[in-house]
Amino acid sequence: MTDQLSPHLSASAARRRASRRRNELIFRGLGLLALGLAALFLFSLMYSVVKKSYYGFVQSFIQIDVYLDPAIIKPEDLAQYQASKGVPQNLWAADIEPDAKKAKRAQRSVQRGGSYKKMIQTMLSDEFAEHFEGYETERERDKSVAQVAEMISLETQFSIRDNLVSGTFKLGETVSIWALASGDADVLFKDMKRRTQKNEDSENWILLKQSVDEQGLSVLTQWRDSGRIRIRPYLGVPELKLFGRTLLEQRPGFFASASSTSPERAGIAAAAQGTFLMLLVVLVLAVPVGVLAAVYLEKFAPRNQFTDFMEININNLAAVPSIIFGILGAAVIIQWLFPGSRGFPIVGGTVLAFMTLPTVIIAARAAIGAVPPSYEEAALGMGASHQQSVFQHVLPAALPGIASGVIIGLAQAAGETAPLLMVGMNAFINDVCDAGAACLMSKGVGMPSQIYQWAADDDPLFQNKTAAGIVCLLTLVIAMNGLATYIRSRFERAN
């Protein structure tokens, strides 16, 4: 009676089943754990980058009232300068005769940053006279005032000048402006905001104490306590010109400014421009060559050892580390073909195009191979030549697949750093190029190498700008990949 049971119901079989269930459970648990860990890493990375980037996008401003002293900038000089710049009218001399020699002197006087610095210093020493007391000599007092003036960014001086020249500000007025704080002050103010209590003992406060004295500190405290310090987004508007017409006026900020030695003035615009130009070069070089190579290999090339060899090489090329392409660019293009082209976006773009080429070829071949052969057969059956059937039917049907492959290749190229360093596209560029196509052949920088540059600076504000740059680059790459996925899914539904 005991052994009449089915073998599946025996005790040992039950044990086997239990152990199998346990193993499967453990495996599932491990899988979930791995997934959770990956998600955690990704999340904490994103969280820390995004959080850090916030203070790269916002900056501190100080409200100041500046007297635009006609004794520092002479009205005649300003008028002469305005006339030479074609500004229509001005306050003091409605009918001034443009004079080349006078204009030159006027230019020197108006453009000199020192003039505006002096206005700010005068403002400080007048408005906060009771703070700057107890100095032995006038020189010591001036030094202390100058130290506080350093807390206001150079950008403010340029802004006052530009407003004067354009006629928005008038000489002799007192204007109340929100002045961009310098990097050091900015870090301090943000720190004050982060911790709401008075952080007299914070690290940054101690640091600050080394750059201003007692009296200076009391001015800053006064600003803080009277609510004259604000932290606001500083994004700016990049200039947009199309066919010589200005569509968007430039306003300084993170998206509108080039890099700078002062962290508060550093922006991503020049780097974004460099990356855009390079991607343009990639598009122009890699796409036609890659697509035609794919069409040839997939539809025209005879199957033989040579084409097999080419195919293997193309696949291998896709796996070559990008720094090697950088070396190729440095050695072949810069040292041999076009000496002196170091750092030009056209060179960086060419190197990235080489790098992207295998990706484009592989993606295009896959897309062409996925076109149903019936299209081609139908065309051939109606008397189209092989070439006609390929270019009129196969290629259009493969286009969405090719486009998504190209976009993924571009996204990959946009994020490459090593080749840019190899071809010298990590120079310090403090001006957004406005020479149109000629920008392809002037020293430039790309977004990844700009981020790399900022990351190497241990100034806390540069660290924030690094994170902000990373967020921009990530957004660009994710948007491009999203577009590629969208095109591909549309394409797959259509088939």
Binding site: R303, P372, S374, E377, A378, L380, G381, M382, G383
Partner: protein, 253 residues
């Protein structure tokens, strides 16, 4: 009696080592439907594809023998293959319209070969082709609609219209109804009979009723041989070869 349009003489086809077609000779008459029947893999499609040299697209295929179109050998290397395919059109097993509008599908061939001088002439050709494919009534008000939006049977008739629009002399059809339901099949069969008033038609089919309904002549293939070719009535009612007899009786295939 209708005249002979195409004449195959001792045609052999090899796919690499595989001898797929063994010395087939046959005549294709104009204004007449010729059906090819036989078990799967016997070489019907292979033979059909010889008639407009579609086998050229298969790299491993080698074709031997003479096929005359109006007395001219189409296997001649000097022959313009696109001209041949204009004269010998093909309709495939699975409807394969281009992913374009209905109009553009039909207009593709005439445009390709410059058959219309202006838009009016092209419109004319398209309307005639769609009418002769029995599709005009159904689509005249949506010629710009996507061809892939049509039903399977409509798509197949569109493919026939597309072929007819090139004004071929011979139309080859490889199991044109195998993807269609009985009603659509009936429509296409009536269309074939209609087209047979103007064209020479060669049709491959697995459906013996279909062969009997549409074909004047039927050829039976078996393992690469053309076993027997005769008037359709004779093939089905009085087959000479025992293999034909077995096949039409449903013994194998």
């Amino acid at each position: 009696m209708s005249e002979i349009r195409m004449q195959a003489d001792d045609v052999n086809v090899f796919y690499g080592e595989n001898h797929a077609l063994k010395g087939v000779s046959m005549e294709v008459k104009s204004r007449h439907v010729t059906a090819l029947i036989g078990p799967s893999g016997c070489g019907k499609s292979t033979f059909l594809r010889c008639l407009n040299r579609m086998n050229d697209t298969i790299e491993i295929a080698r074709i031997k023998g003479k096929i005359l179109l109006d007395g001219e050998n189409i296997n001649d290397s000097a022959l313009d293959i696109t001209l041949l395919r204009q004269r010998v059109g093909m309709v495939f097993q699975k409807p394969n319209p281009f992913p374009k509008s209905i109009y553009d599908n039909v207009a593709y061939g005439p445009r390709l070969h410059g058959m219309a001088k202006n838009r009016e002439e092209l419109d004319e050709i398209v309307e005639q082709a769609l009418t002769s494919a029995g599709l005009w009534e159904e689509v005249y008000d949506r010629l710009e609609a996507e061809a892939l939006g049509l039903s399977g049977g409509q798509q197949q008739r569109l493919c026939i219209a597309r072929t007819v629009a090139v004004s071929p002399e011979v139309i080859l059809m490889d199991e044109p109804c195998s993807a269609l339901d009985p009603i659509a099949t009936g429509t296409v069969e009536r269309l074939i009979l209609e087209l047979a008033k103007d064209y020479a038609i060669v049709i491959v089919t697995h459906n013996m009723q279909q062969a009997q309904r549409v074909a004047g002549t039927t050829a039976f293939f078996h393992l690469g041989d053309m076993v027997e070719m005769a008037a359709t009535k004779d093939i089905f009612e009085n087959p000479q070869d025992p293999r034909t007899k077995d096949y039409v009786a449903g013994a194998f295939g």
